[in-house]
Amino acid sequence: MSAHAHAEHAGEHHGPPTPHYSSRLPPAVLGMFLFIASEAMLFGAFFTAYFFVRVVNPEAPGWPLEPFHLPVYVAGVNTAVLVTSSFTMHWALQSIKRGNRNGLKAGLVLTFFMGLAFLLTQMLEYARIGFTPADGAFGTIFFGLTGLHGAHVFVGLTLLAVATIRAFRGHFTAEHHHGVEIPGIYWHFVDVMWIVVYATIYLI
């Protein structure tokens, strides 16, 4: 009889202890809720500051105040690029769920390059926008909010790059594709946040 079998026979416990939940929520769900809550508070702080600046200028004829001008149409095209990248991300996931590795690779590559195009366009926008973070509260909040989102895009691109390399190395199958699913969730989250930022800062 092997030592393992003997131990089992003796009723000893092997492996990690049974998890003890101090909450009614499973740890993974609780962790995700805490992550979402922390992100919501982070962006919420910037939006609060932004709306405060707007509220204290009720007589402003237009928004943003002179001399600030925002490149709404360029940012609109950039928004379309980012939203499209979510479509290709979804396509990549659906492809690997059906065992289509070529679809996964194509989807991830397209998503990565569209995300990169978004980030580069935003950097170009910063260079030509005509004001800096030092130019008043609006400048500070604009660069703070869009820069915070840009940092999230950068993290998303890093995750996508890893997933893309792994896809080309054949790591994912129809049954095992968590390495694509998680960056996909994150990428959609980044997209949702940009919709909020673009609609709030550029359009409304």
């Binding site: 991300m89 979804h90 059906r98 065992g99 919709i195 909020v196 609609a199 409304i204």
Partner: protein
């Protein structure tokens, strides 16, 4: 039903589409009038909160009771779409049900177009699948076969995997159109299912046009 959008990529994608629609309406209303935009924002937010609260007040999940099975019991998972009422399939099920207490679960995948799938518009596909399922179950009952059914995921492999989580099948029966007319055969669904699932798989070919049905392969 509203779900935590960060549990799966598909839920996050659906949440993104809803967010786009939500802000598109608010922005459009704001261009007409600032106060109208505020009103739309309040109305949409109230609606979203109401839907979320409503989805939380559903009944608790049903407990799954696992019971021991007798030796004369046989659990068969059937995956079929348009061929779900085919004569060949009924013949195979009738044969497999002979001499045992059969428990048959029929899963009909809610097949959808790629465009509708992308925009998560699957209500029509599910309704059509439900109709086919109801007709199939009625035919099985007429034949004296004990069967129940459910509409599954649009991907037949996923639909089978979902069903197997709650229905420990002894074997799986996959019904398709003949080669050349079957999308499932073109996508190697039967081969992929044999690779993925441990249960033996019987592939039944149903030629609905000619009613010249035949069984292609028996259980491995």
């Amino acid at each position: 039903m509203a779900q935590n959008p960060f549990r799966s990529e598909a839920d996050a994608y659906r949440f993104l589409l809803l967010t786009i629609g939500y802000f598109a309406l608010i922005v459009a209303a704001s261009f007409v009038n600032r106060w109208l935009g505020l009103a739309v924002f309040i109305a949409l937010t109230a609606f979203a909160v109401w839907r979320w609260a409503k989805s939380r007040s559903t009944e608790p999940p049903e407990r799954v009771v696992v019971r021991e099975m007798g030796e004369d019991e046989r659990r068969i998972l059937v995956c079929a779409n348009e061929t779900v009422g085919g004569k060949a399939l009924l013949d195979v099920l009738r044969t497999k049900a002979e001499g045992v207490r059969e428990h048959i679960l029929v899963v009909v995948p809610a097949l959808n177009t790629p465009l509708r799938h992308w925009v998560s518009d699957d209500d029509g596909a599910r309704a059509a699948a439900q109709e086919r399922l109801a007709a199939s179950l009625a035919r099985l009952r007429d034949e004296g076969i004990d069967a129940r059914g459910e509409v599954g995921d649009g991907d037949p492999l996923q639909a089978m995997e979902d069903a197997l989580r709650t229905f420990g099948a002894h074997e799986i029966v996959i019904s398709t159109h003949p080669e050349g007319r079957s999308h499932w055969l073109e996508r190697n669904i039967v081969t992929a299912a044999r690779d993925r699932f441990e249960a033996p798989i019987t592939h039944v070919v149903v030629d609905l046009d000619a009613e010249a049905d035949r069984v292609v392969a028996e259980a491995e």
